[in-house]
Symmetry: D2
Subunit: 159 residues, 4 copies
């Protein structure tokens, strides 16, 4: 596993603050379990309110956890003051998301000045068993301060 | 736009029941706005509890809506008694999901006996404007009755 | 279908030159059939040398055509002097790529200063029939002149 | 890394024959470097005829190698007599595909009766350096003998 050096010495605080600023994470009951430069693990308890028709966690909720794990992992390697956007992600659902709690583990595959690529996996803890239930590859984008006045995605408009 | 003939004459009822059986859709405030053979539109009101750090709807929640639109669209073309699973999906976030309400529109691109491919788009209604905020391509799988005793994904296990 | 205004009045010439500069397109026998702002169609004749084990065109070759269609479509909307890179793409293989000739049709879904998202479809012409055989969603990146001295992807390196 | 037990004791021969039956692999100069149950490495020399406009290997050719690595890795775990199809794949281009030779390394993430999910990475050997240039996640489908008379993808047609 490649290790990457953070540009922001306060990456732990910055990444935690960005995570905590998301109401969706509180609503979904997702929290940071482990946070290092280029790697993060999030934890989520099962909630019946976010299940699909078979009682398993909905694929969109699994994606929310995976996407956030990717985003926070990418953010740990971005310079101080950067904002972060998800460009795209791809999720494979590998097994039913059945369990009493879940872990979302992400790591940076390739950091970049503008774009960072991460991979993540979701695990379900069903009694004593840990099952791989989904995987994600995601592309994240850093918005640096000089870009802040002209944020990319908001400026994308048909002429 | 290709049109497809449903195999199940009661597809409308079957698809609606499958949708309604998902607690996650109620929790997220997502409902069916339009439902035809191979096409569906879902509606969602903005909820601050599902926002990310800028107040926009979280990408995972957008994915939940898009995935469900794809799933229901695919389900309308499946035979009576089939169950449906999402195999994988890919989401592109195209603009901030900023608005007071949202639409998720999906249509079947290629129906199949086992696998069906759908495309979906998410739109945000921000005042008088309708903005394209995300797109998805998804692969859905039909589990037919003869398969029901040996559901595919639950049987996938390392030897 | 949204229409987009090109920033480069000579986009036709610029896009054609970028296409023609790729030896891979000549080797694969792919040419431009139609080129407008934000839209392109490429054409390819069947070649047995690029088949997989059933005599159908290999998925990687189909991806080469789809990716190039996306890239050229995106390039038509970029400013003069920009370079273009593919960030990522996702291909769904929908039917066997069986036919005597093929078309790759792409259009821009969302143009941006840095990133542009395109969709493309591959069609096989098998006798009198035109079959949809694959689809792609791709993300393309513009490298502008001010970035040229510090090209993004080449600078991505573990610290 | 999870290890998987092959169902076909002659998987090495079966996978090699499937690989060798593809003219595209010969044309692209791709060969099997290593083959185990659930894992494969392919090798390719640089060929100027498959370059894009900067002299790097075209993303479609990189995808051809990655897709084939995924397919062969999946095939090693399929039962005797199965045929294999690529359902979909997603490629991230991480760095310029610049080098005198290339390796495509794939492993099975989740084997299944019908669908198998694989991950692959492409590396470029540029002098003494080995660079990660691309990644892929792919979904592969087994066509078993009982299905052979009604091959799935060829039967997918609008009613």
């Amino acid at each position: 596993m490649p290790r990457f050096a953070p540009k922001n010495p306060d990456f732990h605080k910055a990444a935690t603050e960005t995570f905590d600023a998301q109401p969706a994470m509180r609503t979904l009951g997702i929290s940071i379990a482990r946070l290092e430069a280029g790697e993060v693990e999030l934890a989520m308890a099962y909630s019946a309110g976010f299940a699909q028709q078979n009682g398993f966690v909905h694929a969109g909720i699994i994606s929310a956890g995976l996407d956030n794990a990717c985003g926070i992992a990418a953010y740990t390697l971005m310079p101080a003051g950067a904002s972060i956007l998800t460009v795209e992600f791809k999720t494979n659902l590998l097994a039913p998301a059945k369990g009493e709690r879940f872990a979302f583990r992400a790591n940076v595959v390739k950091p970049g000045r503008t774009l960072t690529v991460c991979e993540a996996r979701a695990f379900a803890f069903d009694g004593a068993r840990e099952n791989l239930v989904a995987s994600m590859t995601g592309t994240l984008m850093a918005l640096l301060r000089r870009d802040a006045a002209v944020p990319h995605l908001q400026n994308m408009s048909p002429a």
